[in-house]
């Protein structure tokens, strides 16, 4: 029998606010040392009262608008109780009764994935085990940092769909400035079951908690599918609804202790936080502040003369976009910028194994400016770019040091052509006997002689002239 996967995702991302959700502490990004960003409120001291960060509400609404959700204009904060040392007040403020966004959709390939809800909640702290003293230490820098949890409907049918969705979500959230989505900061709970293809009834569900790497999520889903199908077909085990964790070393899931999952969270509305009413005027204001979506951005690039495919690649990545926009804003020609980013920068990134483009747009702009103006050759430009990537050199200074200068006079070019022909007599002879391929070698030698300087068209012209003598 063939089985299909039924997957739902709960995705947590940190909101890009300057301060925590209910106090004025900076986000954990501002912290250098453990417990740097902590005040009486976010460390659970008595006497403190929560005051809602308005920006967090706005970012959550933006996320809802992007995922085509209905925005609940009446929304509440509720308390979820459990004891754990990383939760200083022993309750987490979340949205249980009236989440801020509901009923959205995301297109993944040609399918629509439903979004059940998006709610805002506080993050917990971090426990660190100190082996030296065999004690647990707690760091509250992360407590009360605002998160949104995006809960999908069980609409995914393959691991690939899940990964496509997550990539799309990440790009979209970064685009709108809702979340930085730093490495590992997107945390997913994956709900999985299988059922015979063509049937509607949902199978027994397992939930894999707290995954962040896309590759690991994919493997965990594949593992679970096999485990579930084996359990059904070969009765290898009795499937029970449970929470599991993925073991990255053993490459398998394992059930969590029952105790961790059997909690009764005793939700109730937080009496210290009045219900939030998002009136029409505020909602319109948030709508008006929405940045272009990846699609809109891609279209804008096409309108600037960038090829559709290239525009789509640029638009899919927030960092590529921001560098592109910044360099174009400095007066460079869009097509040229696109080519430098998509060809030269990406090739450097692949070479260095970097995932996100991190370059000073002013430097990239200067390189393109020099090349486009014929001040240095493209080959020289690529060398400067490599130096910028590796040691963040100053563009003009580096060009001077390396003697890059495309404006070499005809006499110097001619001298280099003659020197190259002399040093490559065999190739010259080959060329003259009809082997046109030998031209490349002699041309390369000319370039080497000129240290990458000189106008390639002039070199080509003079070399042809000399060879035909």
């Amino acid at each position: 029998m063939k089985y299909e996967l039924v997957i739902g995702l709960e995705t947590h991302v940190e909101l890009a606010t300057d301060s925590k959700l209910f106090c004025s502490c900076g986000g954990h990004a501002a912290a250098n040392e453990p417990n740097d960003c902590v005040c009486p409120a976010c460390s659970g001291m008595p006497g403190m009262l929560p005051v809602t960060n308005k920006h967090a509400i706005e970012l959550a609404v933006k996320a809802g608008l992007m995922l085509n959700c209905k925005i609940n204009q009446y929304t509440t904060f509720d308390k979820k109780s459990y004891y754990y040392p990383d939760l200083p007040a022993a309750y987490q403020i979340t949205q249980w009764f009236h989440p801020i966004c509901v009923e959205g959709t995301v297109e993944v390939g040609d399918r629509k994935i439903g979004i059940k809800q998006i709610h805002i909640e506080e993050d917990a702290g971090k426990l660190v085990h100190d082996d030296a003293t065999n004690t647990s230490l707690v760091d509250y820098n992360r407590t009360s940092v605002p998160l949104i949890e995006i809960v999908s409907k069980p609409d995914f049918r393959s691991a690939d769909e899940v990964i496509t969705y997550l990539k799309k979500l990440k790009a979209a959230l970064q685009f709108a400035g809702i979340s930085e989505c730093e490495e590992g900061a997107m945390r997913c709970d994956v709900n999985i079951s299988v059922r015979p293809e063509g049937t509607d009834k949902l199978g027994v569900r397992s939930e894999i908690k707290n995954m962040s790497s896309f590759a690991e999520i994919k493997d965990a889903i594949e593992f679970e599918k096999v485990r579930h199908v084996d359990a059904i077909e070969r009765r290898t085990e009795m499937l029970v609804q449970e929470t599991r964790r993925w073991d990255e070393v053993k490459r398998r899931t394992f059930p969590m202790r029952n105790k961790e999952t059997a909690a009764d969270y005793r939700y109730f509305p937080d009496p210290n936080l009045m219900p939030i009413v998002i009136d029409d005027a505020w909602l319109e204001e948030i709508k008006a502040s929405m940045p272009a979506t990846a699609e809109e951005k891609g279209q804008k690039y096409v309108d600037m003369g960038i090829a559709t495919k290239e525009a789509a690649v640029l638009a899919s990545d927030a960092k590529l976009c921001s560098v592109f926009d910044a360099v174009v804003a400095q007066g460079r020609e869009p097509k040229s910028v696109a080519s430098w980013i998509l060809t030269e920068c990406m090739s450097r990134m692949r070479y260095l194994g970097i995932e996100t483009l991190n370059i000073d747009p002013a430097k990239l702009s200067r390189i393109i400016e020099l090349v486009d103006a014929g001040e240095i050759t493209r080959a020289a430009g690529k060398k400067v770019l490599a130096a910028v990537f590796e040691s963040d050199v100053d563009v003009d200074k580096y060009c001077d040091e390396q003697g890059f200068n495309a404006k070499v006079d005809e006499g110097a070019v001619l001298a280099a052509v003659k020197a190259a022909m002399e040093a490559n007599a065999a190739a010259v002879a080959d060329f003259k006997s009809g082997k046109e391929k030998a031209f490349g070698a002699i041309f390369g030698a000319c370039m080497k002689e000129l240290k990458g300087n000189g106008d390639p068209a002039l070199i080509r012209e003079l070399l042809n002239k000399e060879l035909s003598k």
Binding site: G47, V51, D264
Partner: protein, 388 residues
């Protein structure tokens, strides 16, 4: 018995109860759990009285986390603040009214206490138990002095999300009682002993003499209101006290091998009986399957109580009622404290659950509509004058 849990300044003229934070002075909330807890900041109300030129005299005893109406589950005298006021040792005291304890204390000691409209005085710096009803109020020798201090502490505070937006409040205690309509709540009158009834009788007579009308009325659902407030108060208390876990500050047991033992040991050893009973009850009413029939139903009763009282205040200026059934409590087994204590909330719960203002003076309680604090204080003044 010591007048203060912690003395601050012998020349001070404002006492502060021990659930209200004063920077650098211990704040125990009447619990062994916090016996060594020293806060990093002061309550907004404390900042305001100090800024207005008053000085703090010291911290006065409360029943554990203010839950206790009698104080028999506490080793300290929970009437300490009212006694200091009655003896003229301080001008006023700031007390947290969560279940009516300072109202009861004021009635016993014959002084005045005002529990203002919820949201008019910042709760920032109160060791919270039942956030949705607790409120800082003022104990003073008379209505005018209470109004003087209340004017100082009331007004918007951005640090409290439930603080109302108005910056300042004024309380005119000179409104004439002439023509005012006062309703005497029959069910509560009937539930009181003769001594208390006599106080209500003389208050009613004084109002009639001052040109007000006094009409006996029946208010339905008072028993439900009492139970609903016990549910809400217990649930919120359970949640708020869960932060006291022995991990970060406060009492920590010496006997633990793992985190669970640390939690259970610290809380078992540090909390008193009534607190534990409240926590157990509060956990139950929020648990799965019980939430709808207990907590959610209590919220509905709260909305109904607001409706009922608001309707009454369309016809009456104030409700006259006892603050308690009897001044002395009978000795009973402490393990029955939960039932006994919360039985007495019959008299205090209507103002607590609705957040409406209440004033106690001369042993009787007046409850009014939202923002009728000034009118209640003016009515209290009528009784004070009568006796003077």
């Amino acid at each position: 018995m010591a007048k203060y849990i912690t003395e601050i300044n012998k020349q001070g003229n404002i006492a502060v109860d021990d659930t209200i934070l004063v920077k650098d002075y211990p704040a125990t909330a009447g619990s062994k759990m916090l016996e060594n807890f020293v806060p990093l900041f002061s309550a907004e109300a404390v900042e305001r009285v100090v800024a207005a030129g008053y000085t703090l005299s010291g911290k006065t005893a409360v029943g554990e986390f203010g839950l206790d109406l009698y104080g028999e589950t506490s080793t300290s005298d929970i009437c300490a603040a009212a006694t200091l006021v009655a003896d003229g040792e301080v001008r006023a005291a700031l007390n947290v009214d969560l279940n009516g304890a300072p109202r009861r204390a004021a009635a016993i000691k014959g002084v005045t206490f005002v529990k203002p409209t919820y949201g008019t005085v910042s709760r920032y710096g109160v060791i919270a138990a039942a956030c949705s009803g607790e409120q800082i109020g003022v104990t003073a020798k008379d209505a005018d002095t209470a109004a003087e201090i209340l004017t100082v502490i009331a007004g918007h505070d951005a640090k409290d999300g439930t603080s109302l937006k108005q910056d300042k409040y004024e309380y005119n205690t000179d409104i004439s009682a002439k023509g005012m309509k006062i309703a005497l709540v029959k069910e509560l009158y009937d539930a009181a002993d003769d001594e208390v009834k006599a106080k209500i009788d003389s208050a009613a007579a004084a109002y009639k003499k001052a040109g007000a009308t006094v009409e006996e009325i029946s208010v339905l659902g008072l028993s439900e209101i009492k139970t609903a407030w016990t549910i809400l108060m217990s649930a919120e208390t359970t949640n708020n006290l869960s932060r006291f876990d022995g991990v970060k500050y406060g009492y920590r047991t010496e006997k633990y091998k793992n985190i669970d033992e640390l939690y259970v040991g610290s809380r078992s050893e540090a909390f008193g009986f009534l607190t534990k009973a409240t926590i157990i009850y509060g956990s139950d009413v929020l648990s799965k399957g019980r939430y709808e029939v207990c907590y959610d139903k209590a919220l509905k009763i709260r909305r109904k109580a607001v409706e009922t009282l608001t309707e009454l205040f369309a016809k009456f200026d104030a409700l006259l009622m006892p603050a308690y059934s009897k001044a002395d409590f009978e000795a009973y087994d402490v393990t029955d404290a939960f039932n006994k204590v919360y039985e007495e909330s019959l008299f205090t719960a209507p103002a607590s659950i609705t957040g409406m203002p209440a004033v106690v003076t001369k042993g009787v309680q007046l409850v009014g509509n939202y923002f009728a604090d000034g009118k209640l204080l003016a009515l209290a003044k009528v009784l004070e004058k009568e006796e003077a």
